[in-house]
């Protein structure tokens, strides 16, 4: 069915075929950010973690915040795409690829944060040689590697038909595409195999994704520390992760929509649906935050309250209330009515949520460490240029990876769009009919995309 002659979707191949000046500018700017991080890391390797603003007792700061944040963003992707796929939401077709790419790219960045955070990165192999499963860090290692593997597979499988198109249409990188296309010819059996595999992956990837952010939260909640030692941290982190993931996805979609002229594919309705999803997550996030803080406050345990007030009125209040504003108030205002100026509102909300979720991760990691239980001097943490550099570089590197990906693979799944046109329409109609009371029960036909 992937008719090579079909030129309706030629625009999706355009970025791979041609490269404009904007691309080089973008790469140059992003490379500068990455360079900053590289210099910062070199300085850190040479001088030790002392070049950061970390100290006793705030021994975790930006890096761990970034770790949690990026791993959170990774939920954008695979999880959303898997849920949409499983729920047969037809509007998913132009979105899934973008989401899946985010996941894979950002997982690398997130896992990298841990490496940057290590005092002795040269000994990282000790985790392999001497790892112990009592430590939540090992749970993270296992869970993230499973998620990364699954996400890669889940990114690659639905891309095979597109790679075949590239192999057949594109002049360049033929060998590369040939190998990756796995001899895809679009036969019925191949379709069946692929669809079955994708379906299994979609089911498999959801628990893995949930597990990832649950065990990331366990890094904190397994300790006895005030405002960390909480049972709802698992779901709280997962909700936050999906929340920030959707926001990141929306921003990515909007950027590429503009850059690659994909307005025809990514239409306001997509953003409206995603905006509504974002709104739901904002409410859910608020619910969790409220529950989390209320339980702490109501219990009134002394150590807990030290941290609590530190966040509420203390030195972290700016971050805390900033987080509430960015994660709840702004999205709420932007997303309640989306009929008009959908794109602008959704973009504002998404950017706000990205900032807000980063603040949320920060406000979880740092204040607890800043208020030791014993009468130590309370430590205020402020990062140095090194941490800013690493953070900037992380964002830049992520964007750069993403950008480079779009130059090699189509960022919107061509065959799925085509499938939507050819099969989806009919199928939806049939499915819709089965929902209605006054129609004759049609014979149920399993989705057969082979046609």
């Amino acid at each position: 069915m992937a008719d090579p002659a079909d030129t309706r979707d030629a625009i999706l191949l355009a970025p791979i075929e041609r490269t404009g000046r904007g691309f080089y500018w973008a790469v140059a700017i992003l490379s500068l950010g990455v360079l900053w991080g590289a210099v910062a890391y070199a300085v850190q390797l040479d001088g030790g973690l002392g070049v950061t603003g970390l100290h006793q007792p705030v021994s975790w700061g930006f890096y761990v915040t970034n770790f949690v944040f990026f791993i959170g963003i990774s939920h954008a992707g695979t999880l959303i795409s898997a849920i949409l796929r499983l729920s047969r939401a037809e509007w998913r077709r132009p979105i899934t690829r973008m989401a899946e790419v985010i996941t894979v790219m950002v997982l690398f960045i997130g896992a990298g944060q841990i490496l940057v955070d290590l005092g002795r990165p040269d000994r990282v192999m000790n985790v392999i040689r001497h790892g112990r499963y009592q430590s939540p860090l090992l749970w993270d290692a296992t869970s993230i590697s499973a998620y990364l593997t699954a996400s890669l597979v889940y990114l690659w499988l639905p891309m095979i038909p597109d790679i075949a198109i590239l192999r057949d249409r594109l002049g360049k990188r033929k060998f590369f595409y040939t190998v990756l296309a796995l001899g895809w010819q679009g036969t019925e059996r191949q379709h069946k195999v692929l669809n079955r595999a994708i379906a299994v992956m979609a089911v498999l990837v959801i628990p893995i994704a949930v597990s990832v952010h649950t065990v990331v939260s366990f890094v904190f909640s397994m300790t006895l520390q005030p405002m960390w030692h909480s049972t709802i941290f698992g779901p709280y982190f997962v909700v936050g992760a999906i929340f920030s993931g959707i926001a990141a996805l929306i921003v990515a979609m909007l950027i590429f929509r503009k850059a690659y002229g994909l307005q025809g594919y990514l239409r306001p309705i997509h953003f409206r649906y995603l905006g509504q999803l974002l709104l739901v997550m904002a409410l859910l996030w608020f619910y969790f935050t409220f529950t989390e803080y209320l339980t702490g406050y109501y219990g009134g345990e002394v150590e807990e309250m030290k941290v609590f007030w530190g966040k509420f009125w203390g030195p972290f209040s700016l971050f805390f209330w900033g987080m509430v504003l960015a994660n709840f108030v702004i999205p709420l205002f932007c997303l309640v009515r989306l009929e008009r100026r959908t794109i602008g509102k959704v973009l504002t909300a998404s950017l706000s949520v990205i900032v807000g979720m980063w603040l949320e991760r920060f406000i979880i990691v740092v204040p607890t460490l800043s208020y030791p239980r014993l009468p130590f001097p309370e430590g205020i943490y402020w990062p140095t240029w090194v941490e800013w550099g690493e953070t900037a570089a992380s964002f830049a590197l992520f964007a750069l990876f993403y950008l480079l990906f779009t130059k090699v693979f189509p960022i919107i799944s061509i065959w799925e769009i085509q499938e939507g046109r050819e099969v989806g329409l009919k199928e939806v109609e049939e499915r819709l009919l089965t929902y209605l009371p006054d129609t004759v029960e049609p014979e149920f036909t399993p989705v057969d995309r082979g046609g």
């Binding site: 973690l49 975790w60 290590l118 005092g119 000994r123 000790n126 430590s135 300790t223 460490l369």
Partner: protein, 227 residues
């Protein structure tokens, strides 16, 4: 098997910091210098914490020497991803410096902030150091070991003389130095040892007892014994 523990009598502690300095000399703990100190990076395995009675503005000042508490159920060893810190069979929470990857998870998990990080290379090997204790490199976590090397030496000595370790033969540097005799060290598994007796005192309490970490450093409250 012995279970090493310590009792610190807060009624006697004068906050002089002899224990702190004795520890630094014994364990090659570096002074980090003015710049690093102002960044809150002083390494002090034994640290005297001060608490002011805020209720009464001119009220009491309390001193609390805090070594590693060598919890029987240590939150730090649980979270270590590489077995660089563990509780040994005699109850000492040990550190393996050559193993540590510097993730600082144990620092975050310790409710007593007993762990310290080498943010920079603070010292090289040099004269005046104790050769029984390795000089730590940058990027790793360190903490009080109850002067574990002293136990090893005492054990070797006892072994060579075909006898058991005698009470008082193994004492950490802080307890040895304390001019107010506030620190008592010994075997908690021996009910007749001085630490065991003191640990049963009505004045005895443990830090953050409610956390269930079961510290083996036991404190005696200030003032006279209550019933």
């Amino acid at each position: 098997m012995a279970l090493w523990g310590m009792v610190i009598d807060l009624d006697r502690c004068t906050g002089c910091q002899a224990c702190v300095m004795a520890c630094k000399a014994e364990n090659n703990v570096p002074a980090v210098g003015p710049k690093e100190a102002s960044r809150e990076r002083i390494i002090s395995w034994m640290q005297v914490l001060t608490e002011e009675d805020k209720e009464h503005p001119d009220g009491k000042l309390r001193f609390l020497p805090r070594p590693c508490l060598h919890c029987d159920d240590p939150p730090c060893t649980k979270v270590c991803p590489v077995y660089a810190t563990y509780r040994d069979p005699e109850g000492i929470v040990a550190q393996i410096y050559a193993r540590c990857i510097g993730c600082r998870f144990c620092m975050a998990a310790c409710p007593y902030n007993a762990k310290y990080f080498n943010w920079h290379t603070y010292q090289k090997e040099g004269p005046g150091q104790n050769p029984d204790v390795s000089v730590r490199q940058k990027g790793i976590v360190e903490k009080c070991t109850f002067c574990h090397h002293r136990l090893q030496k005492a054990r070797e000595r006892a072994l060579a003389e075909h006898r058991e370790i005698e009470p008082g033969e193994y004492v950490p540097a802080c307890a040895e130095a304390c001019p107010a005799r506030a620190i008592v060290f010994g075997d908690l598994s021996d009910p007749s040892s001085e630490v065991s007796k003191l640990a049963r005192s009505p004045r005895a309490f443990r830090l953050q007892e409610e956390l269930g970490t079961k510290p083996k450093v036991i404190y005696l409250t200030e003032g006279e014994a209550r019933g």
